[in-house]
Amino acid sequence: MLAVEDLSIGLTVHKEGIPVVDTVTLGVEMGEAVGLVGESGSGKSMLCRALVGTLHRHSAAVTGGSIRFEGEELVGAPESVWRRVRGRKIAYVPQSSLAGLNPVLTVGKQLTGLIRSAKSEIAKSEITGGGSARSRARDLLEMVEIPRVDSVMNERPHQLSGGMRQRVVIAGALARSPSLLIADEPTTALDVRVQARILDLLRRLRDQLGMSLLLVSHDLAVVQEVCDSIVVLYAGAVMEAGSQEAIRRRSRHPYTAGLVAAASMDIAGGFEPIPGEAPSVGAWPTGCRFWPRCSLTLRVGEGDVHGRCSTGSQPLPVEVEGRLTACTFASAMSEGGGNRSGEAGAPG
């Protein structure tokens, strides 16, 4: 349904166009839930914005590759095409949606305004189900499990708690029955208790409405809970992509393995964070972007006389054991091994 191929995005602030997303390929099938995992600065939000055509608001632009939705090419599509796609086909819940609601309008007015503006495009009955815009807005709020719907309709966002605001943003995203919902860090700004509820809600909505979900998070545990398959992004490039099961059981990339270890820290007890920090945009290392922090490189590095990790460009993911991995030494990682616990095999 959604096919992103070799997508690259660059910042347009400088003429050189500093890359933030580099040759990323991913796909979302009908009804599938895909998780996109990456640290801040890995380019995941930029990737989302490319999917709804709002990169220009963030001084960025697609510099290569393609985005196809139901066969239609969206890269370079005019604003009129985007207006048809946004909300109706691809809905997006932006990051930090605590500030995601119009501060000067009541919740009811924001939703009815959205529902009414859809009227001109599709048959009236299709959106409102024959009822008024107001009753449809009420239905949407009930769908996202907002209590006391009638009073919330008449309140402005600053009167609502963070979890409620997040629910309203989701309700608005659902208003036109999109076939794909992108949720960018939907739980980050919320406290843990509310986080779990929002995740439950997303999971339930996906089943109930039969839509696809692209869930973006820095937290692998969050994504694992909801998604069928997972794409791991690091410094603008895909490190590993595959089924949730395969990645959790047997990661074939040292970075993912580190994330898995971090995500399962409750079970394993005492986890070691991946050493170092993610490189900032514009300061990506040559070779594999992860190598300066990679324990596998450090370990095989002694024998890595050819410098296969640290030179050249970021390797593109290739299929290894039923998933895609960008690690040249994927086969060096043993069964069930992380980059720390596993034995190193003979590289190359």
Partner: protein, 331 residues
């Protein structure tokens, strides 16, 4: 159903109420202080300015004895402090005294002239808003650099043009050559007074409209970067509704806040505009009072100016906060 809170916790609400109450109390205190400060400055200034009301009134040939008698009649004897205390105690009783020149109560004089100035202010503000809305909205939404550049240049030029220059420049074609409007004068009845007010309102409204327009333009551009604009965009709200409700509406509060300041500046401008167009407003009243060293008139007028500025400022801030909750963080 969830136990998740719908509203911000009750504690937070309570705190917010307290904050608002404290802010209002601060405002009121400030209003009283400003009005008092203005009255003090007014009192001191008219006395520091060289010249003597009695000499102006009686002329050079009056006898010393007559001057002394009038001085006592007008309570102009005694020390500065004594005079001030007398003035303040009258003021607390809302007694502004009588004009030295005309012996009419100052409050009556203000009551006669203030409505003219309020008409002018209201009319001028209307002109300003009519100019500012389209210019600011287009400037905020357009990506055309040419528009922005020309708007900035034009507005700078118009803001920098003194009112007495633009007033005279407009009088010549519209009042003298075309005779569309009278050159000067006033009629104290609603529809008739408009033809006397049009030119002065346009002359003062244009530079203020340019200022509003620029503030609105900047405000819209700032709003454009906000997160909720992205939400509106990806929700797929139709273009007109999106521009109006997501870009313009949330950008208006700063302009309304600014109006509070501008009304104060407008009173200062009224002094000049009313002189140029010979309007019997409070500005003219003040100028005559100053020229005649008519102490009670000057003091009373400036006190009213101070009061109006503080009151309008308060109203504008309150209105801005009602329209936009983000403006509620009161200083």
């Amino acid at each position: 159903m969830t136990t998740e809170t719908v509203n911000a916790p009750a504690e937070e609400l309570e705190q917010r109420k307290e904050r608002v109450a404290a802010a209002v109390a601060r405002r009121l205190l400030r209003a009283v202080l400003v009005a008092w400060g203005v009255s003090l400055v007014a009192f001191a200034l008219v006395r520091i300015v060289p010249g003597d009301p009695v000499a102006v009134l009686l002329g050079d040939l009056a006898s010393e004895e007559r001057i002394q008698r009038l001085r006592e009649e007008l309570h102009l004897t005694g020390s500065f402090v004594n005079q001030y205390l007398g003035y303040m105690s009258d003021l607390l009783k809302l007694d502004f005294g009588r004009s030295i020149m005309t012996t009419r109560p100052v409050l009556t004089g203000i009551g006669d002239t203030l409505p003219v100035t309020l008409w002018l202010t209201g009319f001028g503000m209307l002109v300003a808003v009519i100019i500012a809305l389209p210019l600011g909205v287009v400037g905020g939404l357009t990506r055309s650099n040419l528009y922005r550049l020309s708007f900035n240049l034009l507005s700078s030029a118009l803001i920098a043009t003194p009112v007495f220059v633009s007033g005279v420049l407009l009088l010549l074609p519209f009042a003298v050559w075309l005779r569309w409007v009278p050159v000067a004068g006033y009629e104290y009845a609603f529809p008739q007074n408009i033809k006397y007010l049009i030119l002065p309102a346009v002359v003062t409204g244009i530079p203020i409209g340019m200022i509003f327009g620029r503030v609105l333009q900047e405000s819209i551009r700032e709003t454009y970067t906000e997160e909720f604009v992205e939400t509106g965009l990806v929700w797929g709200i139709d273009k007109t509704a999106f521009m109006w409700r997501y870009l313009v509406r949330p950008s208006i509060a700063p302009v309304i806040g600014l109006m509070g300041y501008i009304v104060g500046a407008y009173l200062a401008a009224a002094v000049i505009v009313e002189t140029v167009f010979v309007l019997p407003g409070i500005g003219t009243y003040l100028v005559r009072g100053v020229l005649a060293r008519d102490y009670p008139v000057v003091q009373g007028t400036l006190f009213i100016f101070g009061f109006i500025v503080v009151a309008v400022h308060f109203l504008a801030d309150t209105l801005a906060a009602v329209i936009d909750p983000r403006a509620r963080v009161m200083s």
